[in-house]
Amino acid sequence: MTLIEKRAWFVFAVCLAAAATVILLYWFTRNARGSMAGCGLLGLSGAEPLIGLGRQRRGEVIMDERDNAISLYGAKVAFGTFWVALVAAVMGAFWIKGERATVTLDTLAMALMFAFLLIQTVRSSTILCLYRWQRGR
């Protein structure tokens, strides 16, 4: 397993844990704003670059042009998905609430957390799919 693949698994696991925590918190509290605390787990994804530091120090080739290409492709798919979701959310809000409606800070914060969760989940899962496909499975 390559370094980028390990990192993608880590981020994917963090995203799943965060999503599961949000759902569980909402299940027990029925409080949408409070349950967003589960998204705090997404901060763990900041530890992604620490994975594989030991191998880097030993001077091994841990990343090459193929890994960079896969990472870049994952980022492109993630931001493409985010853009489609953003446009759909804005258009949907206009359609349901009308152009004169306002957005509370709570809603904005929740939307940002969901956007980050979406981007990280799509990015990591795309990377994992590409590695799997290139192994011919």
């Binding site: 397993m1 390559t2 080739v61 841990i62 990343m63 090459d64 042009e65 193929r66 890994d67 290409a69 896969i70 492709y73 590409l130 590695y131 496909w133 290139q134 192994r135 011919g136």
Partner: protein, 72 residues
């Protein structure tokens, strides 16, 4: 992404075999890539950059056209 749709084929596996069954790890070290990239190349799932193609050819001590073949 990175697939070659069958237009570019390579003889990496054959060349490794001809050189006392050079391991994928050895070739990866000589070419400066990961072993997984060699696996993807042998499975024709990834098309290398021109620079990597030359590095692989150099690792075998042959010309790039002896490793890679383009079929239009």
């Amino acid at each position: 992404m990175g697939g070659n749709n069958g237009a570019i084929s390579n003889r990496i596996r054959r060349l490794r075999f001809d050189r006392n069954e050079m391991t994928q790890e050895d070739l990866a070290r000589k070419a400066g890539v990961t072993r997984q990239t060699i696996i993807a190349l042998e499975a024709a799932k990834y098309t290398p950059s021109l620079e990597l193609a030359f590095r692989i050819a150099k690792a075998f001590g042959v010309g790039v056209e002896e490793v890679f073949e383009y079929r239009a």
